[in-house]
Amino acid sequence: MATIDKPKYKVIGTRPIRHDGVDKVTGRAQYGADIKLSGMIYGALLRSPHAHARIKNVDTSRALAVTGVRAIVTSADLPEQGDRVVELGEGAVNMRHLTANVLAREKVLYKGHAIAAVAADNIHIAQEAVKLIDVEFELLTPLLDVQEAMRVDAPILNDEIRTESFGSAPAAQDSQPTNVAKHFIFEKGDLAAGLAEADLIVEREFDTATVHQGYIEPHNATVHWNADGKITVWMSTQGSFSARHQTAELLKVPISSVKVVPMEIGGGFGGKISVYLPPVAALLSKKSGHPVQLVMSRTDVFEATGPTPGSHMRMKLGVTKDGRLTAGAAWIAFEAGAYTGSPVGAACMCVFSCYDLPHGRVEGFDVCVNKPRSNAYRAPGSTHVAFAIETLVDEICEKLEIDPAEFRLKNAATEGTRRVDGPVFSRIGMKETVEAIKNSEHYRSSLEGKCRGRGIASGFWFNAGLRSSVSATVNPDGTVSLVEGSTDIGGSRASIAMQLAETLGITAEEVIPSVVDTDSVGYTDVTGGSRVTFSTGIAAIKAAEDIQSQLLQRAALLWEMDVSCVRYEDGAVVGPDGQSLSFKELAAKLNATGGAVIGRGTSTGEVNQAGAYGTHCVDVEVDPELGKVQILRYTAAQDVGTAIHPSYVEGQIQGGVVQGIGWALNEEYWYDGEGEMRNATYLDYRIPTCYDVPMIDTIIVEVPDPQHPYGVRGAGEVPICPPPAAIANAIHDAIGVRMEQLPMSPPRLLEEILKK
């Protein structure tokens, strides 16, 4: 539902078949592991069996002797990085950590940490040879709990890490090493005064377990280090340019000697931005003289990529008796994993973002533990804090007997609200999503039956702007070939094509989009951060406008008049005396009027998104004897600005919701005392199947973002934020148990039920 008068679009808002659809339903689409190159050989990795150990020696001699083995590499083959910090597109990365994560140096810091790699004539030989690499370890105590890791006397993972407090002077070099890598503080107003004003204060502590993005396609990279020094990488990635930069930095080669060809990607959700395989495959290729393909196993993906952190959080909210929030305090510790870099900063900035909070204080800690180095997972950090805060809000509503939707409307952040982390919100749609739920048939319906309950929750994500480039060529038959660099995870090449089509006044089918390699298009930041439809869309719109102005020149030439006399209108160039040439007609005349018309567009990263909100409503039934929760009905309202392709917007919402349901009810990394993940398969790391969930109803709310020509807001990430909290609130409504941990899996829920 639109909240302002929506312009009448011709293409935007329709549901064309996606341009890459036929290849995907016939099995023709080429994903990373599908590529075959002449002379290609296969690689396998040796991974640490220990969660924390010093590497005393690595002996590859037995493995090298195996017939069919072509090359072996260890960290000795990767150049030294020192403590360089490099801006890699979506954040700064410490290169010492990145290289050690790719192939371990002095220490292994998690079970599954890669130590060496073998390339051989086939995968079976490579895997057999890996078993023949002898490594001497000195075992160390694994640290698996974030609060344990923060203690002053905790075993240290990285000797060179000192706490970096945001904005503080760097720690003295002779200060003690620590596992607390980063520290953040945000303040607004006067917390003590705000709490003093409150008639009711609620506070709780929460724990969430490590959770994985769960993309069905494992990481892969096929690399050829050519005799001319050019390195080509075919891979599954969310960002070819970021992958190129990381690979070039890790290998210490000029950036232009690396070309990344993005294959179709089988899911990412933030987990396919960091590189793991390309540098290893590149070195194997250099040593063996062959292209080398590396594909992770599912176990490798769980153990050795970048799950989202487990956390411990302490939250407090103060409210007046008539339901006005006065103050909030949050203490948030995230498990960064082996190396620093969890999204705890973002979590701190999201925690109170749904509300207009006069006084607040947030403190966040990024803590190293012996688990794989965490990475982004769809609105990273926001789901954790939403679970905590929305639970407290629900508690407030229960105690003050206020309707949860009314409470959120009363306290909602709106345009002009100042965030606790500082900036002021511009045009946002928090209120509108709450209203959508409040007025929904679901919320108004009654819920009958034993052990059944209903909960609502809201969530927020910033969404990114960043930089994209496209170019677009007009073909003689009136179609446009659109070249872009945003890897397409969810159908974005269609939504970009639609924005170009709308601007030019042609149909979506008349645009032919391609996602190309790093040599074929201008710099484009990652597909992530819900930025592609917004930012690459802006680039495509600019390219369309560039084409328009060139077409005006051509028409003026044909009609022998000054270009100021002609204008572009409704897909045609129109002259002063009623002359008109449609886009298609002009396209046929381009070669006769000067040659190619190529439109160019970039989005510069100065234009930012205002942020997106979702409010969800869920009905559950709890089996009090098993602790099992059944999702009966789910409705998700989300502000998407303007839905370019409603089917794919709905799809993003539904997909995020179901990931959130998995996070809420079952998914967790189950570690034993030695730091081994005991459930590293899809059998035991159980993500929702289609039998576990009902239809997911979506309500598309449209509060256009003023910074995008068509009002787009990113839709991809925010839908994962509300589900765990909404479900927790529904469980409480059903059986009176308030959960303070994720997942709320049957054993954990049952334990709480039995306590009552």
Binding site: G21, V25, G27, H124, I489, G490, Q654, G655, T689
Partner: protein
């Protein structure tokens, strides 16, 4: 070369012979020996369904079938679903209903859905969800996939 076996099968209606080691799975042979990469590998231990093919009328996870086991069998893969350049009802329904996002699970779902409709031309929503529960999708939340199978079933019923 010692130890390799010759296996004769029919794949998508075409008689085929291939050479394989006893330790190779059907999935590996399809993808690496026969270059039929439409069938995908997601987990290699039978839990995600991305590698689903039909062997003698029965959908199986090809990562858990040894290639030597299918001697003499009739195998159907995603490559055999399309009739020439026409999409069939299931494929069209997936496209029209936007029932895919990244698409990696799509071949497995389509093969499994075809097997379902062959066995049960008018499945309920519960039937569909139960039958497809062995195919994991992380992108769509399943809603549009289930609706696509419903739409395909309806279309096929109305034609026949």
């Amino acid at each position: 070369m010692s130890g390799k076996r010759i296996v004769s099968v029919s794949i998508n209606g075409n008689p085929t012979e291939f050479l394989c080691e006893p330790r190779q799975t059907l999935l590996e042979v399809l993808r690496n020996t026969l270059n039929m990469t439409g069938t995908k590998e997601g987990c290699s231990n039978g839990n995600c369904g991305a590698c689903t093919v039909v062997v003698d009328g029965r959908p199986v996870v090809s990562c858990l079938v040894l290639a030597v086991e299918v001697e003499g069998a009739e195998i159907h893969t995603i490559e055999g679903v399309t009739c020439g350049v026409e999409m069939d009802e299931v494929q069209s329904a997936f496209l029209e209903g936007a029932a895919l996002q990244c698409g990696i699970c799509t071949p497995g779902f389509i093969v499994q859905a075809e097997a379902l409709l062959a066995q049960n031309p008018a499945p309920t929503e519960d039937d569909i969800r139960f039958y497809l529960a062995g195919n994991l999708c992380r992108c769509t939340g399943y809603d549009k996939i289930v609706r696509a199978v419903q739409a395909a079933a309806k279309k096929r019923q109305s034609v026949s």
